[in-house]
């Protein structure tokens, strides 16, 4: 297990290096520059700015400097948000995205499982149909539509919630619904289909024959086996949700990371683009690693390759 994780970790570092290089090259290949503005600046001023930010050096030298700083854990200073350190921007905004993201992940898993279990247990009955109708609605309404709708109905008309911001626990309700709708629906469908399959498996029939109570069968045997695909999905969901949703952050005015990422690209804020890309990639890789590990923990049939077996 340790060896497996170390190996994965090695791969992660190599992938990160490739990503840094590719992003650096692409970013500089795109037309436009962080020093550009609508009003033209004189050549002297342009020269001063380039010298200040080191953009007058050859690209390969800039790349070398960036790598050197990166290895020392220095992500640099934003070029557009004057003198704000990139790592500070990321950590500040990530705290918002993370909080909202975790609440949504928990909501998605709990609500998704409940809907899925109900649907599977009442297969082809009214509750199944109802749960699946909810799921289809959740899957098909994009957050771009759902978020403003929730805002208008529950904040402007009914006035039960605030229009925007994340100042109290109640402020999480609307963004969480908007953020989790799709994954709730997805998880519900996933649980339903695997559970229907599992419920028909031989070992469940044995358990029933043994005289085990219905809820125990579902909880102890069927659910755990149905969780496997959800765990896989969870790795993806975590990475996706905690890094912040641009749309939801914009509509509910949440100062999360997604907003800064989009803005950094349109600003051509090189250090911020690099910093957030690296951060995103690291989060994605770590969540996938965690999902792999969780997979083993949930399903003992799976063994880590190269190791002596998990335990």
């Amino acid at each position: 297990m340790i060896r497996y994780i170390l190996k994965k970790f090695g791969f992660m570092l190599v992938s990160l290096f490739c990503l840094v290089t590719a992003t650096f090259v692409l970013m500089n290949a795109v037309p436009g520059s962080p020093l550009q503005s609508e009003k033209a600046t004189s050549e002297t001023i342009q020269k001063n700015l380039e010298a200040y930010y080191g953009l007058d050096k050859p690209l390969i030298v800039q790349y070398g400097i960036y790598l050197k700083n990166l290895v020392q854990g220095d992500l640099g200073i934003s070029m557009k948000k004057k003198f704000q350190a990139v790592d500070k921007i990321i950590s500040d905004s990530f705290s918002y995205s993370l909080k909202l993201g975790l609440v949504s992940v928990v909501t998605s898993v709990v609500a998704g499982c409940v809907l899925g279990i109900i649907a599977a247990m009442y297969h082809r009955k009214f509750l199944d149909n109802l749960a699946m109708i909810i799921a289809v609605i959740g899957l098909s309404i994009p957050s771009l539509v759902l978020a403003p709708l929730l805002q208008y109905v529950f904040a402007v008309k009914i006035k039960a919630f605030e229009v925007a911001g994340l100042n109290g626990p109640m402020d999480y309700v609307l963004p969480t619904i908007a953020l989790s709708a799709t994954s709730i629906a997805f998880i519900a469908r996933l649980i339903r289909s695997t559970m229907i399959e599992v419920l028909n498996a031989d070992f469940i029939k044995t358990a029933k024959a043994k005289g085990l109570a219905g809820h125990l069968i579902v909880w102890r045997h069927a659910l755990r086996n149905s969780m496997l695909p959800v765990v896989t999905f969870l790795g993806f969901l975590m990475a996706n949700v905690i890094t912040g949703s641009v749309v939801i952050e914009k509509i509910f005015a949440i100062p999360g990371l997604g907003k800064f990422f989009v803005q950094s690209v349109s600003d051509r804020d090189y250090p911020l683009i690099m910093g957030i890309t690296i951060f995103y990639a690291a989060i994605l890789m770590v969540s996938r690693l965690l999902a792999d590990i969780a997979y083993v923990l949930v399903d003992p049939r799976i063994r880590m390759s190269g190791g002596k077996g998990a335990k």
Binding site: Q36, K81, D92, S95, V103, A155, D267
Partner: protein
């Protein structure tokens, strides 16, 4: 069983994690205490007791101020916030007329090149230090210092040897600004600049506190390290979220400052901003501090809930005058005359903009309180006339040796608004002239580079005021040497008139020359296709007074008050 335990532990860790994150963030919010709290005087609490109405003002900005360092600021967002934090030698009133601020009075030499400012002696920095002439000398030289890398350093090129120092050739000592004593500042200019007392109200000329700034470039990114001298103090700056300003009790003019607290939230989405206003969470929308969404604008205006105000910005299209067929003046005139500007305003932009037939917007000042556009109307520069346009187009194409209108593209930066306008215009060209023009849009950064490089036939452009003078809309846009003249319009007569305007000693003569240059460029040459002068739609909650859109279309709030 074992696995269940693992799962539930994982769940517990996750939940605990989110709780911890919540706690740590609350702490962060609370620790942002004002640097000035140490100097808090009882005056603050007294002031708030006198007024029964809570004096709080709340508005939004679409994006965070990139900097609150006067030397590094370049945008409206920053200036709206910072105009409450700093005070320059003069301060513009909402009409754009300079009034004494830190400077009590000033004298000008006969040749108009030397100004001597007498500073008030009761102005203080937020840390208690007095504001002196030395602060201004330091700040101006700092902004010009090439190592400061100020984008707006050119605002100080009016100073003798300012440009030389900024280019790395001269030294700081040669720059034409000198503190004679603590309250006397002597300024030497390259040439007579009658609008200098309005220029010094611009943020690039604002003072900074040397000891708090020198060698600490990050000083202006944090509420705790900002030392300022204006009517308000920055109490909190939660990056990406909000800024909170409180009244500065030690401000020399504190008696005229009414708001105790000003909260500026950063909200990008226009509909969210409107919903915040409708639910009473903010007091103001408009003038670069939030935008009234286009789909509700007609309703807001017809119900009298909003106001339309002219601002000093022009929306226009650039012709690439070095490219066929736009090198021909008749073709340019034909395209401009075939557009029904009022129809675009009524059906597309919908905020009572003013059709533009020139470059200089109506809210730009002129002479003796009469605006430039009133003295020199643009209505006779050309007329919209489809028949005449058809004739000119045919003649123009023939002169250029073309048998039909060549394939061309209208380039704009990606935005729903610009797209709608461009579609309406190519439709008018198609119907009125039988000309096909394709549309192409590019993301902002790419667009600027393409336009700069002259890789376009027709391109969208807009220009807003840096200072309240017509020269800002003429020299920059149509002078052959201007770096912003992206259409490469080159008429030496226009260049000469504008050069003469800059050095003219008589203001009337100067404005005459500018008007003459503008008229030549548009009426004779149609170098640029003017479309409309911008307006801003503003909404404010009842009871607020003296919070307005200034001449340039920026929210001016520092001396506002709430009456009920």
């Amino acid at each position: 069983m074992k696995y269940k335990k693992v799962l539930s532990t994982a769940m517990a860790v996750t939940l605990a994690g989110s709780l911890l994150a919540a706690c740590s963030n609350d702490k962060n919010n609370n620790t942002a205490s004002p640097s000035a709290s140490a100097t808090n005087s009882p005056a603050e609490s007294q002031a708030s007791q006198e007024n029964k109405t809570p004096q709080e003002f709340r508005f939004t900005l679409a994006s965070e101020p990139p900097s609150l360092d006067p030397a590094l600021m370049t945008d409206a967002q920053s200036s709206i916030v910072a105009s409450g934090l700093y005070d320059g030698l003069t301060r513009l009133n909402p009409e754009g007329v300079p009034e004494p601020a830190i400077a009590k009075e000033w004298t000008m030499s006969d040749d108009g090149k030397t100004y001597t400012f007498k500073l008030r002696d009761d102005a203080k920095w937020s840390n208690g230090d007095p504001v002196t002439a030395n602060d201004f000398e330091y700040s101006w030289k700092r902004a010009l210092n090439p190592e400061t890398a100020s984008e707006y350093a050119y605002m100080l090129f009016y100073l003798e040897n300012g440009e030389k120092y900024n280019s790395g050739e001269g030294s700081a000592d040669e720059v034409g600004v000198k503190a004679i004593d603590a309250t006397t500042l002597e300024v030497k200019l390259n040439s007579a600049t009658p609008y200098f007392n309005s220029l010094i109200a611009h943020y690039t000329y604002w003072p900074v506190h040397e000891a708090s700034v020198d060698g600490k470039p990050e000083w202006a990114a944090d509420a705790k390290t900002i030392v300022s001298n204006g009517p308000f103090l920055l109490k909190e700056w939660a990056h990406g979220d909000k800024l909170v300003l409180t009244k500065n009790p030690d401000y020399y003019n504190a008696a005229n400052v009414n708001f105790d607290t000003v909260t500026i939230s950063l909200v990008e989405d226009e509909t969210t901003v409107y919903n915040l206003f409708e639910t009473g969470k903010i007091d103001w929308i408009g003038a670069q501090a939030g935008v009234v969404p286009l789909d509700v604008t007609p309703k807001v205006l017809s119900e009298g809930k909003g106001e339309v105000k002219e601002i000093a910005s022009t929306y226009y299209y650039l012709f690439n005058t070095k490219q066929k067929p736009f090198d021909n003046v008749k073709v340019r005139k034909a395209l401009s005359m075939a557009i029904d500007r009022q129809a675009i305003i009524d059906n597309v932009t919908k905020a009572n903009q003013t059709p533009a037939y020139g470059l200089i917007p109506p809210s730009i000042g002129g002479l003796d309180g009469t605006n430039f556009r009133v003295l020199y109307p643009d209505s006779d520069y050309f007329s919209e006339n489809v028949e005449e346009a058809k004739k000119l187009l045919a003649e123009g194409l023939a002169e250029g040796g073309l048998d039909k209108f060549p394939e061309t593209t209208l380039l704009y930066n990606t935005s729903e608004g610009h797209k709608a306008i461009a579609e309406a215009i190519i439709d008018m060209w198609r119907k009125n002239l039988g000309v096909e023009v394709k549309l192409s849009n590019q993301e902002w950064g790419t667009f600027l580079e393409t336009r700069d490089a002259g890789q376009f036939g027709i391109a969208r452009a807009g220009w807003g005021a840096d200072f309240n003078h017509a020269i800002n809309f003429s020299y920059d846009l149509i002078h052959p040497k201007s770096l912003n003249n992206d259409g490469k319009y080159d008429n030496q007569a226009v260049g000469k008139a504008l050069d003469d305007a800059i050095v003219a000693t008589d203001e009337k003569a100067r404005l005459d020359l500018i008007a003459q240059a503008e008229k030549t460029a548009i009426a004779d040459d149609m170098a640029i296709l003017p479309l409309y002068y911008y307006t801003t739609v503003t909404m404010k909650k009842d009871g607020f007074e003296d919070v307005v859109s200034d001449y340039a279309g920026h929210l001016d709030w520092a001396f506002g008050k709430k009456t009920n």
